[in-house]
């Protein structure tokens, strides 16, 4: 009986581990695939067969990629919006959340109602576009920052963390004559590193991955984000490929850098920061997700 059971347990465990291993391979392979492709010589890659390792190693794709001033600029725009956007979002949203967490705040019910409705109601794509246009934000860097200043979802995250902080702290600061602003900036924020980390990371990833606002609210190259740059590359390759398929020819036979390998190297370069940083900050993401779900 006991023996039978342990035999089954072992089989179960083995199958379980095997399935998870397959899943891991499936998840990682696309990334590996693009890495090896990005280091492969372009014309050689187009012949197919570069599936496990690089066949003809070259740095050409990356040097071609980074000689494109549009991409350098796109990286600049993306880094700028990520840093500025995250910082301003944290200050703006956390300040609201602090006041919102104070029990003696007047009209709190009303504010709460407004906040919740901002989470669930939306006028949709077109009215928002008209608004952005009317505010003069169209084709302006601030279109990445201002509409992203505030999120009631993150207010809930901050508030549930602030609520756990000892009330006595605020009490004693007040006795010492500190006002609400001093308390918030000098005492509350420094004590809230975990929640700031969690919200910052979510916000930063959002900024880093954004292409939609750049595509809709800007034109030309000067405010293009990295993701939009990649999207254009992907879609133009796809278009080229479609054309090649329909006319029965395989284009770009002689060049060493093709749109495909260029595209792969751009994708690797753009996802590298996330892939490198993510494993170390994973716990903050999970923490943020869980705080939000419990209270929200």
């Amino acid at each position: 009986m006991v023996k039978d059971r342990s035999w089954r347990e072992h089989l179960f465990n083995a199958c379980n581990v095997l399935i998870m291993l397959i899943l891991i391979v499936f998840t990682l392979y696309p990334f590996w695939y693009s890495v090896i492709g990005s280091f492969n010589e372009g014309a050689d890659y187009a012949r197919g067969g570069v599936y496990l390792f690089t066949r003809q190693f070259t740095w050409d794709n990356y040097s071609a990629l980074f000689s494109d001033s549009a991409l350098i600029r796109a990286f600049g725009v993306t880094v700028a919006r990520t840093v500025i956007g995250t910082f301003t979002h944290i200050v703006f949203t956390a300040m609201f959340a602090y006041a919102f967490s104070r029990r003696n705040l007047k009209y709190r019910k009303f504010y709460s109602m407004l906040g919740l409705s901002s989470m669930y109601l939306s006028g949709g794509m077109i009215p928002f576009f008209i608004l952005i246009n009317s505010l003069g934000l169209y084709n302006h860097f601030l279109v990445f920052i201002i509409p992203a200043l505030f999120s009631f979802w993150n207010v809930i995250l901050f508030r549930s963390y602030f609520a756990e902080l000892p009330e006595a702290l605020i009490e004693s600061a007040k006795i010492d004559g500190a006002g609400e602003y001093t308390i918030f900036f000098k005492f509350i924020l420094p004590l809230s590193k975990p929640v700031i980390a969690a919200v910052s990371l979510f916000t930063a990833v959002g900024h880093w991955n954004a292409y939609y606002d750049a595509m809709i609210y800007t034109f030309g190259d000067h405010l293009q984000t990295v993701q939009l740059y990649i999207l254009k590359l992907v879609q133009s390759t796809e278009a080229a490929l479609l054309l090649a398929n329909m006319s029965g020819t395989v284009g770009t036979a002689h060049s060493t850098v093709t749109t495909t390998t260029l595209q792969l190297s751009a994708m690797v370069a753009a996802s590298l920061p996330i892939v490198l940083i993510y494993p170390f900050v994973q716990k903050y993401f999970i923490k943020g997700m869980l705080i939000g779900s419990v209270k929200g």
Partner: protein, 320 residues
Amino acid sequence: MTDSEATLAARKSPSTGRNFRNKDQLSLQTMILPGIIFILVFTFIPLYGVLIAFKEYNIITGIRGIFTAEWVGLDNFKEFVNDINFWNMLRNTLGINILGLLINFPLTILFALMLNELTSQHFKKLTQTVTYLPHFISWSIFGGLIINILSPSSGVVNYVLLQLGIISEPIHFLGEQNYFWLLAVLTNLVKELGWGAILYLAAIAGIDQEMYEAAYMDGATRFQRIWHITLPSITGTIVILLVFSISNILNSGFDQFFVLQNPLNIDSSEVIDTYVYKVGLREFRMEYATAVGLMKTVIALVLLYLANLTAKKITKRGIF
């Protein structure tokens, strides 16, 4: 008046109220004000802008045009009922999302259960780290990867299928109508499976371990323990997430479809969100696009209400 209110507040919460001053209330209100202005501007003005769905609007007139434009009643709505594209993309939106719900929702629960049964904590952590990763990669990159892997000329999928003799010539997966729905569902599964399991794992972590020990003593097999302890314990989480998924059925994720669609698969890849974008911001038929968007919101609200009602009837749990 404000004084007496302050004293009232002080009495209600003796721990905080004692040192409370009017100056502080003013400070708090100024901290709240920017956020409230933000909500009024960025949520409520666009909400009001929905009115153009019933009007003849011109973008040049800006926000003021929302008020001054001429009423045309339900003309824009009549237009899309007669629009052949509209029914096509409604079918795609519903089809892809219902298929996704049927396949991905149970698989995510299954994944969380299996993850929980892993005996090595290190391996569990590794699996989690790897499967969460794609969630943080943008669709423009992830979609680009998919397009490359499925490429008929150099993609690995066609290579493997050809080598195994399953197909005799390369298939242009993204260029054919028939594959798109399934591809959309499966690529979304790969991207979101891990992250989608987080809330279930948290719910599982909260289960009292003594129940498992007692069941083990009574000779329950592993499967019985999962079936009779783990699953019933996370029913609440499952119901809530199911209700949310159903209400989200029309919010089919602009990004994924926008990246994966091309002229060859457009008939099975056009969804409401991408259609609104094209009609509204490329053809500048803004009032028409707004009408389509409004229709979507209304259907989504009805779905949310129905899903919640059903959940309450069946399990006595709901989200509101």
